[in-house]
Structures are given as structure tokens and as C-alpha cells.
């Protein structure tokens, strides 16, 4: 099977991928854009080209902006291959994907990874019960299926996305039983250091404040400083219990939506053995990139949330910067023009990222919700608890890869996506060493499952 040659393969059709592919095409390069979904948008702009006007209005102006990127992409000669599951990206810039039940391989000269972010795991008692989903999942249901909860729903955790969902649900007439906010007085105190830069990002800050005001005006039950979140139920979620205002609380609900921020999806960058560092502000692993987004794997670039959480606007800007970097690397653009064109993008990027330190500090997920008690399941696929993981450490397991071999933790179909960060932090906490010293799972292809027949080339 001879791989088809292209200039650039872009993986992911979210804001970074759409903007990056568009920019690359504008620079005259032959681009293939691979995405898992049937239409562009990634997760943040999920379903944007198919959403009826009323839904777009409901979701707010930030969501609607995704259409601008999608339209611009449509006007380019970029070959956008939909419903493509990329299962391997090699250091040699070969990209293998599954589409239409068949295996395909592309030989690129450079690769732009724009695979974005995913919800931070929220390992609490009962989090594996049916009826417990992430706020992101609820947004996807709204964006892609126009679906909303039937009963009064509980939103729990912290972070802008949680409040955004609440605001969207308000507009949609969905009753919210309670907003259980883990944000604590201490978090405001910690965030004060970044208040000046937050104020300089006033437009963003104002949007957030208005959003919070709407939620307050709707008189939604709002518990703050909530701790010790747990979900009750035997076969499905029945209630959320927590402590707030010094009291034990319990809210009955069959649908609990959890959120404590998003984290970079590092499956591809890890499988390429790019160097990653632990970011103590964002509490996750970030691939090391140069100012154009290139990893320490030559010719592989990362743009968007996959390189560190920055939001949709920042993602699009990074996509364009990476495109400039790639174009210069491939000889389609001289270095001086690249640098010149990058100036404005960098200024805008810097503006967009200014709010981040404040948000990261204010909405820092609680330690107990990242490093859970012994009886909480950490690896959902293999059903390994935090307590079992701590036993492995006591037996001499120093890191996540030994944990894998000691107890199958991380060996299930999700390939560590939902347990990786928790495992690293539980081990680091048990060993009393920094998370960066503990490291992360060794990630290898297939990044998405493929059948043996497909691999065999049947």
C-alpha cells in the first residue's frame, strides 16, 4: 500500500485545525484535514454548520463564531476528510487513519496536530454511574442533537464551561436544580495575584460576570465552596451529596453534570515521544513547543488546546501561527515574511491568553477531586481504585507504567484518557514527589481502535 503524498496533514477540525488548514491553503500548500466527526467544528463548535438558527442563538455568540471559520475553510481547496479516525501519526510524518471501514495512509511533509482538549477527569465516589456525565457531554447533546435534560439537573464543579452551560440551559428553559460550585474563598484569594491581567482582559471578564449575574438573577440554588462531592446510587445516579456552608448536603437527581476544567488531549504528542512538562498552574502535561508550535519532533506542530488550555480564539490564532511556521519550514514562505505576518497574530494571542492565569488560579480543581479517597475508581475501564493504586506504590511502583503492569490501570479501551492525570497525581502524592517526576503513561498507537482485519489490510 503506497501512501499518498501531501504537503500537510492537519488532525482535528476544531478552531485550531480549521484556521490552520485555511491559512496553509492560502499559502499554497496541499492540505488534508482529517476529523472524526461528520461536520467541522471540533467540540467547542460542535455541529455549527448543521445547527438551526434558534439553537445557535441559544448557545450564544461565541459558538456562532465557529461558522466564520467553517465557511472560510469551505472556500479553500483543503481536502477535508470526514469521519476519519486517525490511529497513528509517525515521527516520519506518515499518518494512518480509518475511514469508510478501510485503512488509509498519507505521507505528509509536516503534520499539524489540532486535537484539542477533553474534560478533566472528576474521580469522585459514584462517578461511573449511569446518569453522571460531563458538562461538555451535555453541551454536545445540545449542540449535536438539540437535547436537554428533562428533569431539574444538577451542575457540579467549577470553571467557565460549567457556568456557560448553566446560562445556556437557562435560555433554553431547562430547570437547574442546583449549581454546586467547588470554588472557594481561598480560590478568590489565590487568584487575586492575577487580577490586574484579568482586568486587562476586561471584555472576557465582563462576559463572565454577566453570565454569573444571569445565573444569580434566575435564583438557581447556588452552593459555593462545596467539597467532598459524591454521587449516590446503586445502578444509576440518585443524588449528589457534598459539604457546603459547614453542613452535609444532599440533592436528589438522576442527572448530574460534572465539570472541573478541560485538559489538553496529549495522546498523539505522547505517542510521538515529544517532550512534555507538568504545568503546575493548569495541573496537566503540556507538550513543549517553540514559538510556532513545533514540538521537539521535527515537522510536527501542535496548535490549540492540545498544547495548553487557551480557549477557542487562542486556538484559531495558534492554528494560523503554526501554519506560518510550517509554510516557512516547507519553503513556501520566507522566514522574514513568516515573522512579519506573525506579529499581529502574536499580539492577538497574547491578548486572548491574558485571562488564563486568573482563570487557572480561580477555578483550580480541588485536590480531593483530583487525588481521591481509596474507594474511588480511578481507572474506569479496568475498575482500579485509588486505594489499589496506592498499594502498588507501597509495593515499589514508581510511576504510571509500572502501575499499568501491576494492576492493568490504563490498559483499557480509553488508553488512559480518563485516568492518566489522576494516576500521575495519586502516585506523586503517595510518593511525595512532584507530578513531573512521576511522568505519564507511555502512549502508543493505535490512538483509536482499529480491527485486526483493518490492520491486516483485508
Amino acid at each position: 500500500m503506497n501512501p499518498e503524498s501531501v504537503d500537510v496533514v492537519v488532525v482535528g477540525a476544531g478552531p485550531a485545525g480549521m484556521a490552520g488548514a485555511t491559512e496553509l491553503a492560502g499559502l499554497g500548500l496541499a492540505v488534508v484535514l482529517l476529523d472524526e466527526q461528520g461536520s467541522p467544528g471540533g467540540q467547542i463548535y460542535r455541529g455549527i454548520t448543521l445547527a438551526p438558527l434558534s439553537r445557535r442563538d441559544l448557545l450564544g455568540p461565541d459558538y456562532a463564531h465557529g461558522n466564520v471559520l467553517a465557511r472560510a475553510l469551505e472556500d479553500t481547496p483543503v481536502r477535508h476528510i470526514k469521519e476519519a479516525a486517525v490511529w497513528q501519526v509517525g515521527r516520519d510524518h506518515q499518518v494512518s487513519y480509518l475511514q469508510g471501514g478501510r485503512m488509509h495512509t498519507l505521507q505528509a511533509r509536516a503534520v499539524l496536530l489540532a486535537t484539542g482538549a477533553m474534560e478533566r477527569p472528576f474521580p469522585i465516589r459514584g462517578w461511573t454511574l449511569p446518569g453522571v456525565m460531563t458538562a461538555g457531554a451535555a453541551q454536545i447533546l445540545l449542540k449535536s442533537a438539540g437535547a436537554v435534560p428533562t428533569e431539574p439537573v444538577v451542575l457540579a464543579g467549577c470553571g467557565p464551561l460549567l457556568y456557560l452551560l448553566g446560562w445556556q440551559y437557562l435560555r433554553a428553559g431547562v430547570p437547574i436544580k442546583a449549581l454546586v460550585d467547588t470554588t472557594h474563598r481561598d480560590d478568590y484569594w489565590r487568584a487575586r495575584r492575577h487580577l490586574v491581567s484579568a482586568l486587562r482582559a476586561w471584555p472576557y471578564l465582563r462576559k463572565g460576570l454577566e453570565l454569573m449575574r444571569s445565573l444569580r438573577q434566575a435564583r438557581i440554588a447556588h452552593f459555593t465552596g462545596a467539597s467532598q462531592l459524591a454521587i449516590e446510587g446503586t445502578d444509576s445516579a440518585q443524588a449528589l451529596s457534598f459539604t457546603a456552608n459547614g453542613k452535609a448536603q444532599r440533592i436528589a437527581s438522576r442527572c448530574v453534570l460534572l465539570h472541573q476544567g478541560v485538559v489538553p488531549n496529549i495522546q498523539f504528542s505522547q505517542s510521538l515521544r515529544a517532550t512534555h512538562a507538568w504545568d503546575p498552574q493548569q495541573l496537566c502535561f503540556i507538550p513543549l513547543r517553540d514559538s510556532w508550535g513545533e514540538l521537539d519532533v521535527p515537522g510536527v506542530f501542535v496548535a490549540g488546546d492540545g498544547g495548553g488550555i487557551g480557549g477557542a480564539q487562542a486556538a484559531a490564532l495558534q492554528g494560523r501561527l503554526a501554519a506560518l511556521g510550517i509554510a516557512a519550514r516547507l519553503g513556501a514562505l520566507g522566514a522574514p515574511q513568516r515573522d512579519r505576518r506573525g506579529v499581529e497574530l502574536r499580539r492577538a494571542l497574547s491578548d486572548n491568553l491574558r485571562i488564563r492565569p486568573f482563570l487557572d488560579a480561580l477555578y483550580r480543581p480541588r485536590d480531593e477531586h483530583r487525588i481521591p479517597a481509596d474507594d474511588v475508581i480511578v481507572c474506569r475501564c479496568e475498575e482500579v481504585t485509588a486505594g489499589q493504586l496506592r498499594q502498588f506504590v507501597a509495593m515499589g511502583c514508581a510511576g504510571p507504567n509500572q502501575a499499568k503492569s501491576f494492576g492493568r490501570c490504563g490498559m483499557g479501551p480509553c488508553q488512559g484518557r480518563l485516568c492518566g492525570l489522576t494516576v500521575t497525581e495519586v502516585i506523586a502524592d503517595a510518593r511525595q514527589v512532584p507530578a513531573g517526576d512521576v511522568g505519564y503513561y507511555r502512549i502508543r498507537p493505535p490512538i483509536k481502535p482499529i480491527t485486526l482485519g483493518e490492520l491486516a489490510g483485508d
Binding site: 434558534s54 475498575e383 483499557g412 480518563l418
Partner: protein
């Protein structure tokens, strides 16, 4: 094998205020016919039809249902048209689809080998 019979209201429904297509998609879950709006994922279709339990885990037979809706958590696995362990949040529902809950590890499907009859000349 426990069959999920929707006995309570679905967890999700179509948002009010959107103009609905008159078309609907009919599919089955564990043999029961269900009807949903077109253009949605199998996972969304099941949640909107009152299905709360998608599968039992291979490790402990614990009940599971979608968690992330974006193909990352692998909790929404069901059998679709005979193919087991499919991520239902990544596949759109179509007319006539036969969906079944994924009860533990998948089977290795096989057909009983056909017996060939030899005619013996007298």
C-alpha cells in the same frame, strides 16, 4: 440478561423552540422499537428514548452509560447491527438500526459450519 425497559422519563429530550423536522428515525434497542429525530448519534437517541444503561462492564458487570459524548471515555459501547463494542456517540442513528446493550466482553461471532452432503452413487 437484564433488558432495559424504559420505566421512567428519559433523561434527555429535544429542546423546546426548535422547528422540528417531521421526519423521524425508527430503530430498535434490545428488540424494542424506538423513534427519534433524524441526524443524531445513537447515544443521543438512546438517552432521549429513556435508555439509561448501555452496557455491563467486562470486569464486574457494572452498569455504564455515556460520560463524555465525544469518543474519549468508551463508556457508550453498544452493539450496532451485530457489531459489538461500538462507540455510540460517534455513530449517527439510521432507520432500521438494531442496537443492543453490550453485556460484558464481546462474543467472537461465528456461524455454525454448514454440513455438505455427499451423494454416493449406488
Amino acid at each position: 440478561m437484564p433488558i432495559e425497559a424504559p420505566s421512567r422519563a428519559p433523561l434527555f429530550q429535544s429542546v423546546a423552540g426548535e422547528t422540528r423536522s417531521s421526519r423521524s428515525v425508527t430503530f430498535s434497542f434490545n428488540g424494542e422499537a424506538l423513534s427519534v429525530p433524524p441526524g443524531i448519534s445513537v447515544a443521543a437517541a438512546l438517552l432521549m428514548s429513556g435508555i439509561e444503561r448501555f452496557r455491563a462492564t467486562p470486569v464486574s458487570e457494572s452498569p455504564r452509560a455515556p460520560y463524555c459524548m465525544m469518543g474519549v471515555c468508551f463508556e457508550c459501547l453498544v452493539s450496532i447491527d451485530g457489531v459489538p463494542n461500538r462507540q455510540s456517540c460517534l455513530i449517527d442513528v439510521v432507520d432500521g438500526m438494531q442496537v443492543r446493550s453490550q453485556e460484558g466482553a464481546r462474543d467472537l461471532q461465528f456461524e455454525v459450519p454448514s454440513v455438505s452432503v455427499l451423494e454416493v452413487q449406488p
